[in-house]
Subunit: 218 residues, 4 copies
């Protein structure tokens, strides 16, 4: 059994459990940040779960690196994988490989290209917005002069930022909050460009097909 | 007569009356929200008209589903149709099938692809903005600390949101208003991407044609 | 001599004088709005010049319509021409036909497609922004609660609006000002989409050419 | 040895030293603006370094012009080169030719087209944002009614402007600051369009490849 097939098999076996683990990680972080009334015992448990899951992610990364038989080139060639080990909150962004594993098992026909790009970029934007709202809320909570009083404010801020509307009624004021916001803008703009580009392409194709084929299937 | 042709014929017969019904629905809602000085009798009438029309939309949806002979796949394959049954304010967005019915009856040549995408997305943006301004205005009116005092303010807010300018001089402050605003941003950005993409494509084609053919037809 | 060639010749003979007239119209309007210290005599002169030039534009439109030998279809087929007769401030947007006339006379090679789209859309954005800043400034000047105190504020507002940044430190508060602003947003977004789309295309082509041809011509 | 090859050789020999010089220029300017507590001696040294480097850039421009054997057409054909002589802060934008020189020397395969456009436009946006934040901060510092108190505020303003979010919590209020901001918006929007366009294209290609080739290489 060569390196490539072992890497592929490791991916097949771990992709779905790791995705579930990523969702649990996000849920544990959200509980820690939002459930302020929770007894210290439960908050420590959340922290422990996050640490344990992060170690799992690191082990998965190490095994993949080892199996690949590559040196530092592995890091350069798996930028998204490396990113989600450093920032495990963003791990749910690995939904494309997951989708691939699920599809291969079922043998179903894939949905159209535009639909896949829109749903992938749309889901990624939602995960990014939720993670960003959580971390910025944690950084801003209780800061002097903050306009972000509740988690609802943080979600509203994240939505107005990722859509580039930017009302400015709720804004981060701390250094950490602003730094996270800048990273979120950079990622969000790219994802948004993918959504609008795909929608535009889909609309174009829909109209073209109509002209060519007569009565469209609605 | 098979299922497909019966579905197509039902679509042909009902598309135009249902579009008129959708405009009446929007007008009744606008009257209810804006005409605050109206006697209770008229306001109840608006409410009754909206309910009746919504039942008509539900019946149309049920008939189409029945005729299609499909199970739950019908819902997945007709997302826009399902959406406008749940949110009948957005029903005017079904202007593409309407246009198609009208065109088929007249046998006229269709206008250019870019013009169709621009006019469809532009009209959809206007309907979305008007419906969004109405519902957000209803949610915000009289809320403590609101900056949205008149319906004119709501329209101004909707325009600055859909264009992603986002001045922030008028913003929703209630939970419901903000939730509607986030849905509006998501839809608006996609439509806007289609408008700018098509305009860019049209301008490119215009300039290319000029270089190729010499004196352009202006 | 048939209708088509007479239309083309009328276009050739009048395009350049009419473009100069459009710039004079814009200058006269700017003088009337900005030079508040001017004696009434000069302000009346500006008004008179604007009226005279507008009559010239109307006559040009009538002659073209007559020469075309078309009925109402002329209006539908020349939307930009019709628009700039109703709103003569936007007449400088007819720079594409002007460019065409100038080029035909000189026989020089045309500049690249992307460069033409970028310069056309960029110039149009500047003309739109300047005209919009002038009219909104005239509508807002002296309105109660305005944040637009000088023409510099109006230009700053126009730039932040057309780029969809929308800081919100300077915003129109009157109904007329906001209506003009909404028209400006709609036009500006389309032009902006054309600029960014072309720039993206040009960059792609530049990088592709480099990979193919080796040492690039810088 | 003809003109062309001498121009090319001059480019090969000077590109890397000049890029280093451009970074030193930017660092000297940043020191002058930010290190307000520095003794006058060091601040004068920064000024002197900047002047000397600028003279180097002018000499390089003159030599290239001379070698090209062209008249005024040289200026029109090398717009970016001319721009970075006038505004040397933007010189790091000449990273494309630099990359080209480095690649030619090493003979390594180039990275993919989308990756190159994204990294070029992304890097350019960062350089533009940093230079813009520096110059606007210098113009705004100490202005009456300013909201830009620290350099961190200026960076936050630059990020929210270049992403077109535009919160409006930090805005320039002086004429010079606003003029620089408008130039920054114009450049930033074009670069942003290139980034989002390329990312959208890359995502499309990734998804297409997956459907075609089965198991994707991750």
């Amino acid at each position: 059994m060569d390196d490539d097939s072992r890497t592929a098999r490791w991916g097949q076996d771990t992709e779905i459990p790791l995705f579930v683990a990523a969702l649990v990680f996000l849920a544990a972080y959200a509980t820690r940040v939002l459930a302020t009334g929770l007894p210290a015992y439960w908050r420590d448990l959340c922290w422990f779960v996050m640490l344990a899951l992060w170690l799992v992610f690191v082990v998965d990364y190490a095994v993949r690196w080892r199996l690949s038989g590559q040196g530092l080139r592995f890091v350069a060639g798996h930028l998204l994988l490396t990113l989600v080990v450093v920032l495990p909150l963003l791990r749910p962004l690995r939904i494309v490989p997951l989708y691939d594993e699920v599809q291969r098992g079922r043998g179903q026909p894939r949905i159209s290209l535009y639909a896949r790009v829109i749903s992938y970029a749309g889901l990624s934007t939602m995960i990014l917005g939720f993670s960003g709202a959580l971390t910025v809320y944690q950084a801003e909570r209780g800061a002097p002069g903050t306009t972000m009083h509740t988690f609802g404010d943080a979600v509203w801020w994240a939505a107005s930022t990722l859509s580039t509307v930017g009302y400015g009624d709720v804004v981060p004021v701390t250094r950490l909050g602003r730094a996270i916001a800048i990273v979120m803008m950079a990622c969000g703009l790219a994802l948004l460009g993918a959504v609008t580009g795909s929608f535009s392409g889909w609309l174009m194709r829909t109209f073209t097909r109509e002209s060519d084929e007569g009565p469209p299937g609605r």
